[in-house]
């Protein structure tokens, strides 16, 4: 079999499975008793083993096999989970990752793992004897046509009983003359999804989608809704002729052969009710973000295809060209002022607006893809530094443009390392300060307006302002005069200044010669900014603000003499026209009174040194009020042209660091307009 064409898919899927393994292992570390997690890891490992064997990567398959044996023994309660065992399993996963990376880089995935294999064998034979054979017999996928359940599904059903869920077997019959069976099935699933969780179907979801069934199909379903209500709801789907709902009883699940282990687990649960149920509840909770999503997605067969990112990039580039042409068309049609042309152009603009949304969202990736490497990193770091740290991730599903995602990884690694190394104190120190021994790092992502915020919060020592200031003065980052007037926040942010590094002892973790200024530069080059809040003794928050996308933005076009500039809409508060008399003087600075606050005026013609043949004598001034954080400024221009969507272009390598210009764009008439960087204009 020619497997090359599947290689890419294999690599992608292997990475996903390995990621799932690491995530679940971390969970298992927190809840060593929870055997359902082991089941999950086992599944991933099993699939990986199968795939790599098919693809002919023997080493990969072998190591996975050994790991699987250990997992199976754990699952069958022949081995008790200990941190030592987990270490070895983590190590195996690391090896597997390396192998997959090697394959991805064109290698053969070979790697010396004898040490790990020996350890795995030791664990396996030390406490379990026949685990290896059992693993072979274990069905990892369910292809039965009847509704029978494997151990894993049974345990889910049994667990759900404890949480007052009902399990039903639903038999749905469609009318004989039903034409779009797959569509009806989909609608039934949609109804069910709002009510609970589908755990199994017969025939399988794939067959259902391909309409490979007669008139009736069966669904195993967990819900808190009453069966009558459920029946009524499903009946509402047209062309459904009959719905039969029978409850699944706990007893039904027991007389099967391989029931002992699950039973043991449940009887154990009964005896240790207090602890066990609590644990189940808590794992459910942490799982809720990921597992149900996965489970819910699986039955409906979320129809996705994998598309090469390059193609998406090409699509985006072509679309950018279109956006430029649209601008050109718009300006032509407004000049010509032909009714039909206007209508067509307007219609086209609307369609393009929709198209733009779709293309942009298509390129959106959840930050999870960046975040998911951090739990393991934190685990490693806390070992290295002998600190106790727990990482909490909030909002991993927040989506960001791929261009931003690609760039944000390294700065985040840097910041997290910084928090762990400098922020969180050693357990002894923490105990002495009356804090829990375990430090917490919270990684939070959320959308707000046209921006995405990523925050890294730790409950560590916070920033020692005096020390920072002293160091900044010593290194000449600030002058004593400047230091006098600095706010606490400004002092905190000194640690981001170039030429500053607080680590007294250069550790392997964060003192790598590059300071946090690299982080700041990277984030600013992405059009974002970073700020720090810190309370000495109780922790710091690093907050990063990032634009949703880097390719197309909305701007307000303004004119100064003959020149056109673009001001990003995201920083504009409003535009207004003021009378000359309204301009006041305060400390050599022209200001206006804007809704009760004093706003300094910035004359763009002065800032940009716009050549003016004769001075402008006008009684009125056009002002664009912009903001940076809480600070405002009024940009004075000659006139407003209007709002437009533009494609961001860089000025290239030759012209870098132009004051108050963040980039350029091409207008409808083919000319280049510069984009104003409002952040640079507000001090």
């Amino acid at each position: 079999m020619d497997v090359n064409q599947y290689l890419e898919m294999f690599i992608e899927e292997s990475k996903e499975h390995l990621q799932a393994c690491s995530e679940h292992l971390l969970e298992l570390e927190k809840n060593p008793e929870d055997l359902t997690i082991v089941g999950e890891i086992f599944r991933s490992a099993h699939t990986l083993k199968g795939m790599s064997a098919t693809m002919g990567f023997e080493d990969l398959a072998n190591l996975t096999h050994k790991m699987e044996n250990v997992l199976d023994a754990i699952r069958n309660e022949k081995i008790v989970v200990t941190p030592e065992i987990l270490d070895v399993v983590f190590e195996s996963v690391d090896h597997l990752e390396e192998m997959v990376m090697d394959i991805a880089a064109g290698g053969d995935g070979k790697r010396d793992v004898t040490g790990t294999v020996a350890l795995l064998k030791q664990i396996e034979s030390g406490e379990a004897i026949e685990a290896g054979e059992v693993a072979e017999e274990m069905p990892a996928t369910i292809e039965n046509t009847q509704l029978t359940y494997d151990d894993y599904e049974k345990s889910i059903i049994l667990q759900s009983f404890e949480q007052a869920f009902n399990a039903y077997e639903i038999a749905v019959s469609l009318r004989e003359d039903c034409l779009l069976k797959a569509a009806r099935v989909m609608m039934v699933f949609q109804v069910l999804e709002t009510e609970g969780e589908v755990i199994k179907t017969s025939p399988s979801v794939e067959s259902l989608e391909e309409e490979q069934f007669d008139q009736t199909f069966h669904i195993a379903f967990l819900t808190q809704t009453a069966s009558e209500e459920l029946q009524a709801k499903i009946m509402k789907v047209s062309e459904v002729s009959e719905v039969l709902i029978t409850a699944i009883e706990a007893e039904q699940l027991k007389p099967e052969e391989k029931q002992e282990s699950v039973e043991q687990a449940t009887s154990k649960a009964a005896s240790e009710k207090a602890t066990q149920t609590e644990q189940v509840a808590s794992t459910k909770k942490t799982n809720s973000a990921k597992t149900p999503a996965k489970k819910a997605a699986a039955p409906v067969g979320n129809k996705t295809i994998r598309v090469n990112i390059e193609r998406l990039d090409i699509l985006m580039n072509l679309f950018e060209e279109l956006v430029i042409d649209r601008g050109r068309l718009q300006s032509i049609s407004s000049e010509v002022n032909h009714n039909e042309l206007n209508e067509t152009v307007e219609r086209m603009s609307r369609v393009m607006g929709d198209l733009q949304n779709i293309i942009l969202t298509m390129r959106m990736v959840p930050v999870e893809t960046v975040f998911n490497r951090f739990p393991k990193m934190i685990r490693q770091l806390s070992r290295e530094l002998n600190k106790k740290i727990s990482l909490e991730i909030i909002g991993a599903e927040t989506e960001l443009d791929r261009t931003v995602i690609d760039e944000i990884g390294d700065p985040l690694v840097h910041l997290i390392r910084n928090s762990v190394d400098h922020g969180i104190e050693s357990p002894a120190e923490r105990a002495a300060n009356g804090k829990p021994e375990e430090g917490t790092v919270v990684l939070r992502a959320y959308h707000s307006g046209n921006h995405v915020f990523i925050e890294i919060e730790d409950d560590g020592a916070g920033i020692n302002k005096d020390k920072v200031l002293a160091k900044a003065l010593a290194k000449g980052v600030v002058t004593p005069e400047q230091a006098e007037t600095m706010s606490d926040k400004q002092i905190n942010e000194l640690i981001l200044a170039s030429g500053f590094s607080t680590a007294e002892v250069i550790s392997d973790v964060s003192g790598r010669g590059v300071g946090l200024d690299v982080v700041k530069t990277t984030i600013e080059s992405l059009g974002g900014n970073i700020s720090i809040d810190s309370i000495q003794g109780s922790g710091s928050v690093f907050s990063i603000q990032l634009p949703l996308t880097l390719s197309i933005i909305s701007v307000m076009l303004v004119e100064i003499e003959q020149e056109i500039y673009a001001i990003p809409l995201s920083s504009i508060i409003e535009t207004s026209i003021i009378k000359h008399e309204e301009i006041l003087n305060a400390h050599n600075q022209k200001v206006i009174n804007y809704r009760g606050t004093v706003v300094p005026l910035v004359f763009l013609e002065d800032i940009f040194e716009v050549p003016r043949p004769e001075p402008k004598a006008d009684d009125f001034h056009s002002v664009v009020v912009v903001r940076k954080g809480e600070k405002l400024a009024g940009l004075v221009v000659d006139s407003f042209i209007g709002q437009q969507e533009i494609v961001l272009k860089s000025l290239g390598d030759y012209l870098t660091n132009i004051f108050a210009i963040s980039g350029a764009t091409i207008l409808g008439n083919g000319k280049v307009a510069l984009i104003v960087d409002c952040n640079a204009l507000i001090k």
């Binding site: 000025l651 290239g652 000319k671």
Partner: protein, 146 residues
């Protein structure tokens, strides 16, 4: 350009500036454009005239007359923009006119004479004698350095 030096001949684009002829290796030249609208970029050296839209790519433009401290020309009709690519950076040079592609023998290239006595001295990598013409070879990296 090292590849060009290994060969016997070097193909160059010849352009005029204030009655002198200059040459740039063809391998560095991306194209020659007529003068088009240039958007001024503020706070840049005076010889940076601004940026143009070169088929969707924003390209900076340098006025070589200004760069060599020559007076501005009146005859703008023949003025051309030569787009060159140096170390993956694309830049356009404004020149008086550009109309020749020549082969020059490597042996005809001499180091620059001591007494050139003009501002462009530091940008010159050598001169080439060709029949009655004297071509000044430019060192592009130097021209770009600020």
């Amino acid at each position: 350009m090292s590849t060009a030096i290994e060969q016997d001949n070097m193909k160059v684009i010849v352009f005029q500036l204030e009655n002198k002829e200059y040459a740039i290796p063809v391998s560095n030249v991306q194209g020659i454009e007529r003068l088009m609208h240039i958007t001024r970029v503020p706070k840049t050296p005076s010889y940076v005239k601004g940026v143009i839209n070169l088929r969707g790519v924003v390209t900076p433009i340098i006025d070589l007359r200004d760069r060599f401290n020559l007076p501005a020309t009146e005859n703008r009709d023949t003025e051309r923009i030569i787009i060159v690519s140096i170390r993956n950076t694309e830049v356009g040079f404004i020149v008086d006119s550009a109309n020749d592609v020549l082969d020059i023998k490597m042996s005809a290239i001499e180091p620059q004479p001591e007494v050139v006595g003009s501002e462009e001295e530091e940008f010159i990598s050598g001169v080439a004698r060709l029949d009655n013409r004297l071509l000044i070879l430019l060192q592009l990296e130097k021209v770009l350095n600020t």
